[in-house]
């Protein structure tokens, strides 16, 4: 009997026993390789740029005058006068005031500043050398450092430029927090985000409640209308508001003298573009609440009002909290809307743009980015925690609630939803109207002249075609990367630390505001020492940036679908000696096809509408439609901006309809197994 063997062995753990290490099979190696490649993608497209940005925010640059020496010859070219340091010259001449010695990474200080009687025609020769370790200077475009004298004639001396040295420290942050005009944006952003969040969540809760709990007619239509803002760039409602309440607005009187340019406009626009996000989350939360609780409440003869506060609201609390943080995050990181309608009212995301594009102060742009990261990361973290709780609550078995007709409540719900629908359709309609008339408000006859984009700033029709190309590439490339990445991380065996690291990398993009990502890309990819520098200014970098920007939601969607697949499929395939990629091709992809299509349409729509990240990255040959809206608006071509915005809307609506048809067709053809 086998126990004999067992007894012959010493009890307890034998001293010689060493943990076994698995031999890796071919599949294991291939899967890990894929995972590593996609993880590397995320490192290059996300972690490294962010690192570059962080280090930029801690860098200050100043001209270190003690580190340069000059020597000037007489007219015959002999150097009789002893050399003198730039610092000494400056002390004597006060040529460069101390505050001007602080500069940025691109700073250049002409050497001629220290020689007031310099003339480029003079026969005098100049010598220059750098005595400090970090100090360097340019002659023309050539860089020199070190204590060897360089001799130039006066014509070339014109082209000698001192370069700043870099210090690491918190000086930029100190500047930021001691500059009220910059610092005030923090307060502005927080206030606007909180107000918009409260309004949006309340409105969306009412809407979701009506959809879930009433028997009003046209629920499907309402749902569809509520989703429409997702299909347009966030700055489009801003344009509509300008037409409605701007200086020549049709409804200007309603504002009682207040200006739409500023907080009011930002809040209204934010409510518009965040509404669908909040509505989806809250609807889901309400839909999973348990009907049995309502029956119990009814049996206890609780009033409607009491039931609402003791059953409905607590049941949806995770959804409400989650929606609040998502909306907060969307508003505080949004750039397009405050850019269009913010007027003189500064917000953090716009500050980044102004610092970088307006003042070319990249270091300060990086500082504002880091400041903006804090609320964004916080909101993201809270949302993740809450989402986890909600998933736990969801897995409990509950009975879905079936509303019964209540004529008065249903009528109220219908009126309420109609008002919201009018708000949404109204803003879109105004844009379409503005796009089609000749000259607001003087000539209201219809014309297509606003569609002659080629006559305006912003890239013309090419930017529209670029956008479509970019969105297609993003959808295809992004879906591929995201789905394969999610598959590898979900199904690879062992390799725990690698997988957790991957998960972390995949979650990171959601916490990074688009403006921050875009700026980080400038720092990383525009660095001439970076071998990936060639990507800068191409369509490819726009695709990479957009895929990365929207990675997290796509990744989570893919993970959800993959988790629903039996964990043992891979084991079965391996035991049958079939490679994992056969299983992937024959089973995983076909079963997950609806999800794969969902991810690709999500990426497509967002690639069409995104502004914040790509606004830093487009080049004259890769202008985009959404950026064109921004730039045409900036240039005062508001009607064409509206027209382009509506082009994006129709394109996205078309894409969604196509997606619906394809999904249905695919389901019917390949998913026969789903139906008994």
């Amino acid at each position: 009997m086998a126990t004999a063997a067992e007894e012959a062995l010493p009890k307890g753990r034998p001293a010689k026993a060493r943990p076994v290490r698995p031999k890796l099979g071919r599949d294991d190696l291939i899967m890990r390789a894929f995972m590593v490649v996609i993880a590397l993608y995320l490192v290059v497209a996300l972690a490294l740029p962010l690192y570059a940005m962080l280090s930029k925010s801690f860098s200050t640059f100043r001209f270190d005058l003690t580190a340069y020496e000059f020597q000037v010859s007489d007219e015959q070219g002999s150097f009789a006068v002893p050399p003198v340091s730039a610092a000494a010259l400056n002390e004597e001449l006060q040529a460069v005031p101390p505050e001007n010695l602080a500069t940025n990474g691109d700073g250049r200080l002409p050497a001629t500043s220290f020689f007031p009687d310099f003339s480029f025609r003079s026969p005098v020769m100049y010598r220059i050398r750098a005595t400090g370790d970090d100090a360097s200077y340019l002659i023309g475009s050539e860089r020199f450092a070190g204590s060897r004298w360089q001799e130039v004639d006066s014509n070339d001396f014109r082209r000698v430029m001192l370069r700043p040295v870099r210090d690491i420290g918190l000086a930029n942050y100190a500047t930021y927090f001691s500059t009220p005009s910059l610092f005030r944006s923090v307060e502005n952003s927080l206030i606007i985000s909180v107000i918009s969040t409260v309004i949006t969540v309340l409105l969306a809760f009412g809407f979701a409640y009506a959809l879930n709990r009433s028997c009003m007619p046209f629920k499907g239509v309402f749902r569809l209308i509520a989703m429409a803002p997702i299909l347009v760039p966030s700055l489009l409602p801003g344009i509509a508001l300008v037409y409605l309440f701007g200086n020549q607005g049709m409804l200007k009187a309603f504002l009682l003298g207040e200006s739409i340019y500023g907080p009011i406009g930002i809040v209204i626009g934010s409510v518009f573009f965040t509404f669908p996000h909040a509505m989806i989350i809250i609807t889901t939360a309400l839909a999973i609440s348990d009907a049995r609780l309502y029956e119990a409440a009814e049996c206890l003869k609780a009033s409607r009002w009491k039931t609402f506060w003791t059953v409905t609201v607590p049941g949806a609390r995770y959804g409400l909290i989650s929606a609040a943080f998502v909306v907060f995050n969307l508003v505080i990181t949004d750039f397009g809307l405050p850019k269009v309608i913010g007027g003189q009212f500064n917000m953090l995301a716009v500050d980044i743009y102004k610092q970088v594009i307006g003042q070319q102060n990249f270091e300060m742009g990086a500082v504002v980015s880091v400041v903006l990261l804090f609320p964004a990361v916080l909101a993201f973290t809270v949302d993740r925690i809450v989402q986890k709780r909600q998933v736990a609550a969801l897995s409990a078995r509950s009975v879905p609630y079936q509303p019964k007709p209540k004529p008065r409540f249903d009528a109220l719900a219908f009126v309420y939803c109609s008002l919201i629908a009018v708000f949404i359709l109204g803003l879109l309609g105004v844009c379409q109207f503005a796009a089609l008339i000749k000259f607001w408000p003087y000539d209201l006859s219809l014309s297509l002249k606003n569609y002659a984009f080629d006559l305006m700033d912003g890239g013309g029709w090419d930017s529209y075609y670029n956008s479509i190309r970019m969105a297609f590439l993003t959808a295809i490339f992004g879906t591929l990367v995201v789905f394969i990445g999610a598959y590898m991380v979900e199904k690879t065996r062992g390799f725990e630390s690698g997988r957790s690291l991957f998960q972390l990398l995949a979650m990171l993009p959601m916490a990074i505001p688009g403006m921050v990502l875009g700026l980080a890309y400038i720092f990383f990819f525009n660095d001439p020492r970076n071998p990936l520098n060639a990507l800068y200014g191409t369509l490819a970098i726009l695709v990479v940036c957009t895929v990365t920007h929207f990675y997290t939601v796509s990744h989570l969607t893919a993970m959800t679908a993959l988790k629903q697949m039996d964990r043992e499929f891979e084991s079965v395939a391996a035991s049958l000696k079939q490679p994992f990629y056969k299983l992937f091709r024959v089973v995983t992809v076909p079963v997950c096809l609806p999800t794969i299509l969902d991810i690709s349409i999500y990426l497509f729509v967002n690639a069409m509408t995104t502004v914040s990240a790509v606004v830093f990255l487009y080049s004259p040959t890769t202008t985009l439609a959404s950026v064109a809206v921004l730039n045409m608006d900036d240039a005062g071509d508001i009607a064409p901006a509206a027209a382009m915005g509506m082009m994006i809307f129709y394109t996205n609506a078309g894409a969604r309809i196509l997606h619906l048809i394809v999904s249905k067709g695919v389901l019917r053809r390949t998913q026969a197994w789903r139906f008994r």
């Binding site: 126990t3 009890k11 698995p22 079965v572 049958l576 000696k577 789903r674």
Partner: protein
């Protein structure tokens, strides 16, 4: 001597938790072995270690003379059926079974022939075009089995293959699986927590508890000669009586001296004596059957419960020293001795059926 599957000193830890400890086991070629034990005892963990799905922390596994301890799944030789069956939902039954046969250089016609053969074997020849979701649980189970044996593996691993099915189907499939296994002669390891399943199907049973093997033996050995209190208690039903060992083979229960199996126990030690209800023999009150004088006790019948083919009776009495016994009496015996609640009775506890274990240690082995 070399067995088909040799497991030596297997340990498995999940963090600080030890799921398997010192597991050593041999399985002979063609044998049907069941891992049996309460939930969480490590049966699945052991099976997954054999398959290479979750590697052991240390210890070795040999299959057919080859060390497979650390090999990846694909380089081992086994077919497996999971509790969930893991049938590919979007492939037809036919393609599910053919999955392991494709790209192995086999011509199409041969694959089709093999699939037909397997479908016949599991009796589902008419279902080949259907999808898994269109089959009943029992049918899906058989498809999973057919897929697992399609490539004629040397070892068949089954993880609670019947637990998702209702009782009737389960009994039916038990026979089918056993018959199939016998026909194919494939070495089979099955995990179950259903002792009836294990007793009726296995050539040998491995009883596990808290990550260790309690006992390995044929179903009758396990049932008749449990080697630990845990096994005695876990398999079937048994009475447990607290007693003290007075001399080897002899112990005191209340005021009575009884003989039983006490190998390896020291006199004076507190012990627990077990006897199965059906091993208690009833006699007319006060009778003295020849050759059994040391194992006789006078008791009173308490409640009686009719359980179909026998009566379960609770027995008390001064001779038991405050303990009570449950005994199963045949209908015949009850009629012959006119047993009823409150009746007096003499019972015989055969020495060979009284098995003693050390008291106090929950899972202590005897001898």
């Amino acid at each position: 001597m070399s067995s088909y599957l040799r497991i030596r000193d297997l340990h498995k830890k999940f963090g600080d938790f030890t799921a398997l400890r010192n597991v050593s086991l041999d399985v002979e070629e063609g044998e049907f072995v069941c891992f049996l034990g309460p939930s969480g005892c490590g049966k699945t963990t052991l099976l997954r270690a054999i398959a290479g799905l979750d590697l052991q922390t240390h210890g070795s596994i040999e299959q057919a003379g080859r060390d497979i301890s650390t090999l990846p799944i694909a380089e081992r030789d086994f077919g497996i059926v999971f509790q969930s069956y893991a049938l590919f939902p979007n492939l037809t039954i036919e393609r599910n079974i053919a999955f392991g046969l494709e790209n192995s250089g086999r011509p199409r016609a041969e694959i089709a022939r093999r699939v037909t053969e397997l479908l016949d074997l599991v009796g589902l020849a008419d279902q080949r075009e259907k999808y898994p979701a269109q089959l009943s649980g029992g049918q899906q189970q058989r498809i999973a089995l057919a897929r697992a044996i399609a490539t004629s593996p040397g070892l068949l691993l089954l993880d609670e293959p019947l637990s998702a099915l209702d009782a009737k189907v389960r009994v039916h499939l038990r026979h089918q699986i056993k018959e199939l296994q016998r026909k194919l002669g494939v070495t089979t390891v099955m995990v179950t927590h259903d002792q009836e399943e294990a007793l009726s199907m296995a050539d040998r049973i491995v009883v596990m508890n808290h990550g260790v093997i309690e006992q390995i033996g044929t179903p009758t050995e396990i049932y008749r000669e449990p080697r630990s209190l845990f096994v005695a208690d876990f398999i079937g039903e048994t009475n447990q009586l607290h007693a003290t060992l007075s001399a080897p083979g002899c112990f005191t229960l209340g005021r009575t001296c009884l003989q039983g199996m006490t190998d390896g126990l020291a006199p004076g030690q507190p012990i627990i004596v077990t006897i199965r209800p059906e091993d208690i023999i009833p006699h007319a009150p006060g009778s003295q059957p020849a050759g059994s004088e040391r194992g006789l006790l006078d008791v009173t019948v308490g409640e009686m419960e009719f359980l179909g083919s026998f009566w379960r009776s609770r027995l008390t009495g001064a001779a038991l020293g405050g303990e009570q016994l449950y005994a199963d009496f045949s209908i015949n015996a009850v009629r012959r001795l006119s047993l009823d609640e409150g009746a007096d009775l003499t019972i015989e506890l055969p020495a060979s059926r009284l098995i003693a274990f050390p008291a106090g240690e929950d899972h202590g082995h005897r001898g």
